[in-house]
């Protein structure tokens, strides 16, 4: 949203006007102002803490709604909507334009909370809350949460459609489904706050409900931070191999992508597809253990040097065998140079003895080896590479995997995510005399 289009400004102005209308006090309702002030302060504080460095950068689950929903269950609609305003206007916004985003956020929340409070009131929620009639109070509260969720999704989809020209249907798809579950849990916490607030124990007891929510929120943010760090580490590990090897960059990532395509085509479950992606990414990790001199050697390898390089699957397996979540990917790292006819290494397994994951990665590896430019050979067109794979299916590769790759590429094409292809910047190297070896797919080192 660098330059905000005029249409978006108009849209936001309309929403803000509607929000202001919602804030107008209704005649004849009694508002307890100290409750509004307390809740508004609480919400602003939670919002501040949630975005502070204590928790993490930005929280993936969005805002902290229990206080807002508790307000919707306790107060008349305009007062409940007012609770959201200070917190939203003071919230930290990462991107520019800051002021506009804050106003938008406030208006959106005002409308959402107002709708929730109206729904709750229409269904007789406040009486149930005051009586502490819990199984009955769940009904109006559920309807209010649904209304809140729908309004937020509607407005969010609208701004996407207007400001970023996302097609309306795509903008709205999944918005409600994604946010409903977390908001429902926040709604439950809000309901508990409201019930305890109205009980003889008062607001003190209501505040206690927030503590477990905050703790779980914190743990969730930590989880995401650690998860991202873990991904970065694996990526770095792989980059280290790519650089050491002197192959074209991104080979590992592309093999991961091709393995994933094959796994999807074979109709594997999502978790297995993910594991196979890791198998492809990490298949050559054992090359970290092979002396750099050998990997980069220009010229023919002596049989002894070849034997040393052929140790890399075993080195790799030695490295990754302790990583539990990799599962069958570990077998793929060990066996990705086996061939169906038993002439591969390290163990010379035959046919079905080779683990399925290894058969997938072997095909993906050979495919990328042929379609990317190497120091000793130009890239071949995708069609030629696929034909070559089909020729070797049965003797070297599993025909099932080859057919899956052919189908997948035929349908979606081959668009490797290029991470770093600064190949041109490197000095061109003389093709080694042993380049004829690379004529055999998968015979790259």
């Amino acid at each position: 949203m660098e330059a905000v289009p005029a249409r978006a400004r108009v849209y936001i102005a309309c929403v803000v006007t509607a929000a202001l209308l919602c804030l107008l006090p209704q005649p004849g309702t009694h508002t307890t102002w100290w409750a509004v002030v307390l809740l508004a302060g609480l919400y602003a504080g939670c919002e501040r803490v949630a975005r502070s460095r204590f928790v993490g950068i930005s929280h993936p689950a969005g805002t902290f709604y229990p206080v807002l929903l508790a307000g919707a269950f306790l107060l008349p609609a305009p007062a409940a909507a007012l609770v959201a305003v200070p917190g939203a206007l003071l919230s930290q916004v990462g991107q520019r334009p800051v002021a506009l985003r804050r106003v938008w956020r406030a208006a959106q929340l005002v409308l959402g909370v107002w709708a929730a409070a109206r729904t709750h009131r229409l269904l007789g929620g406040p009486e149930a809350v005051a009586a502490g009639d819990v199984p009955y109070a769940l009904g109006p509260a559920g309807a209010a949460v649904l209304a809140f969720c729908l309004v937020l999704a509607l407005l969010d989809g609208g701004i996407l459609a207007v400001a970023e020209r996302v097609p309306v249907r795509r903008a709205w798809r999944g918005l409600v489904a994604r946010s409903l579950a977390p908001i429902a849990v926040h709604g439950l916490a809000g309901l508990m706050m409201a019930v305890l607030w109205r009980s003889p124990y008062g607001p003190v007891a209501a505040l206690l409900v927030l503590l477990p929510m905050c703790v779980s929120w914190w743990a969730f943010a930590q989880y995401h931070r650690e998860h991202a760090a873990h991904q970065a580490t694996i990526r770095a590990l792989v980059q280290a191999v790519d650089i050491k090897d002197g192959y074209t960059r991104g080979h590992s990532e592309r093999v991961g992508q091709a393995s994933m395509m094959i796994a999807r085509e074979l109709g594997m479950a999502d978790e297995r597809v993910e594991v196979l992606r890791f198998a492809g990414i990490l298949h050559d990790v054992g090359k970290l253990g092979v002396p750099t001199r050998l990997l980069r050697k220009d010229g023919p390898l002596t049989p002894e040097e070849r034997r040393v390089i052929e140790l890399h699957p075993e080195y790799g397996h030695e490295m990754v065998r302790g990583i539990g979540f990799l599962g069958e990917a570990r077998a793929a790292v060990l066996h990705h140079h086996e061939r169906l006819d038993g002439s591969g290494y390290p163990y010379g397994l035959v046919g079905r003895q080779i683990p399925e994951s290894a058969r997938v990665v072997a095909v993906a590896d050979a495919f990328d080896a042929m379609t990317s430019t190497r120091s000793y050979s130009r890239a071949r067109p995708v069609a030629v590479a696929l034909a070559e794979l089909e020729r070797c299916a049965g003797s070297q590769f599993d025909p099932v995997m080859v057919a899956a790759l052919v189908d997948a590429v035929g349908r979606t094409g081959w668009h490797p995510a290029v991470t770093a292809d600064d190949d041109e910047t490197r000095p061109p190297r003389v093709p080694p005399p042993g380049a004829h070896l690379s004529g055999r797919p998968g015979a790259h080192r």
Binding site: V134, V185, V195, V204, A229, M319
Partner: protein, 415 residues
């Protein structure tokens, strides 16, 4: 193992808990159960909490839902507007029975709760119940206002959590011999995390059951279950991350730059030394990662150092390898602090942060004792002590000596 005798404190705690539990059971059997429906509902909740417990050595509060439900039963004064009449004996009996019932599947899998956990559960719940139920049943809190009553529950639970942290730290101290202060600090830190969620939920459940009846139990356990799930996922991804770092550290071993198991051993001993010197949990994590990856800079060398023995290299060369290692670690996206520790492992100790001092001394000890043959460990320690003038920090070497004397962390003698 006939020579092993548990420390007296451990026996005392277990005996107290056992006596208390047996007494409560006897009294409850003799008197019969008051308010069976309430007892059953809380019993079921504790059982469910135990069934969803997390297993693992590094978990501080394995069953937060069970703990919260047990505490709130101990603090329950009325249910749905009607006063309850159960005494402390019934609370302990119900909680104990439900906990044991809930841990049956875990015991069957060989991962049951430790005796320490059960003993702590009995003692904490018993403490809360004894403090609260008799005065309540005698009507001492009748003229307290609602908010004051809520604060009373909160204060009582906080006091209990503090006592529990002291007890847990004392148990850990006697079991492992780690210094008491840092262990207590880590326990108190855990009270601020999931512990505070347990306390708040315990208090809130007792109040909510008083207002709306037993319906409150399933509804109010949702936030805590959510917190538990988040913590579980957090713990899982941390474990995965540790495994990845450990594997990365093995790259130098696979490549033949360092002997097999070197990084792992240095990490284990470094952690023990760090604990002995009173580092906190987060500092220990940084120390462990740094120790695991301290040799990673050697991957950038074209030719391996003989036997990976960096301690014998000239200082300038050691520092160069350390800087290379820091560069590699920085690329991996691990915490910045780890990279700094790896970078500074070869600096003179006066300029080093504590973790880097530990890694340096332990690494040298590991290398020297491996070379030294049968008498290696002692000779290595002696050499380290002699070199403390400028190379190795004296307090770290002394701590290392303590750690080695205390445990069986001596290195396997080669050949």
């Amino acid at each position: 193992m006939s020579a092993y005798r548990p420390p007296p404190l451990l026996t005392l705690v277990h005996a107290c808990a056992g006596l208390f539990a047996a007494g409560s059971l006897a009294v409850t059997l003799y008197d019969g159960l008051e308010e069976r429906r309430v007892a059953l509902a809380f019993g079921v909740l504790v059982t469910v909490g135990e069934l969803t417990r997390r297993n693992g050595a590094r978990v501080r509060e394995p069953a937060p839902l069970g703990a919260a439900a047990a505490l709130s039963y101990a603090l329950l004064g009325e249910a749905g507007g009607r006063a309850t009449h159960h005494g402390p004996a019934q609370v302990v009996a119900v909680v104990l029975a439900a906990s044991l019932l809930g841990s049956v599947p875990h015991v069957a899998r060989g991962q049951g709760p430790t005796l320490d956990h059960v003993a702590r559960r009995v003692l904490t719940v018993g403490f809360v119940a004894v403090c609260f139920q008799p005065p309540y049943n005698r009507g001492m809190f009748d003229d307290w206002g609602g908010p004051a009553y809520a604060l009373l529950l909160l204060a009582l639970l906080s006091l209990t959590a503090l006592c529990d942290a002291v007890l847990a730290a004392a148990l850990a101290h006697t079991r492992t011999g780690w210094p008491f202060g840092p262990v207590l600090r880590d326990e108190l830190r855990a009270v601020c995390g999931i512990g505070s969620a347990v306390i708040a939920t315990g208090a809130v459940m007792a109040l909510a059951v008083a207002v709306v009846g037993l319906w409150a139990l399933p509804v109010f356990s949702v936030p805590l279950l959510l917190a538990q799930m988040s913590f579980r996922r957090y713990a899982a991804v941390r474990a995965t991350y540790r495994q990845t770092i450990a594997s990365l550290a093995r790259a130098t071993e696979v490549a033949g730059y360092t002997p097999a198991g070197h990084a792992r051993r240095v990490a284990a001993v470094s952690k023990a030394v760090g604990r002995d010197l009173g580092l906190t949990e987060p500092e220990l994590a940084v120390l462990e990662y740094a120790a695991l990856m301290h040799d990673i800079g050697q991957l950038s060398l074209v030719d391996p150092v003989p036997a990976g023995a960096t301690a014998a290299l000239p200082a300038a060369e050691q520092r160069r390898i350390a800087l290379l290692g820091g560069a590699v670690v920085r690329q991996t996206g691990v915490d910045e602090a780890v990279a700094v520790m790896v970078e500074r492992q070869a600096d003179p100790y006066a300029e080093q942060p504590l973790a880097a001092r530990i890694v340096r001394a332990v690494n040298a000890y590991e290398e020297k004792s491996r070379e030294g043959g049968p008498g290696g460990p002692l000779k290595a320690l002696e050499e380290l002590r002699l070199a403390t003038a400028g190379t190795y920090a004296p307090e770290v070497v002394e701590s290392l000596a303590r750690v080695l004397a205390r445990s069986s962390l001596t290195l396997p003698v080669a050949g």
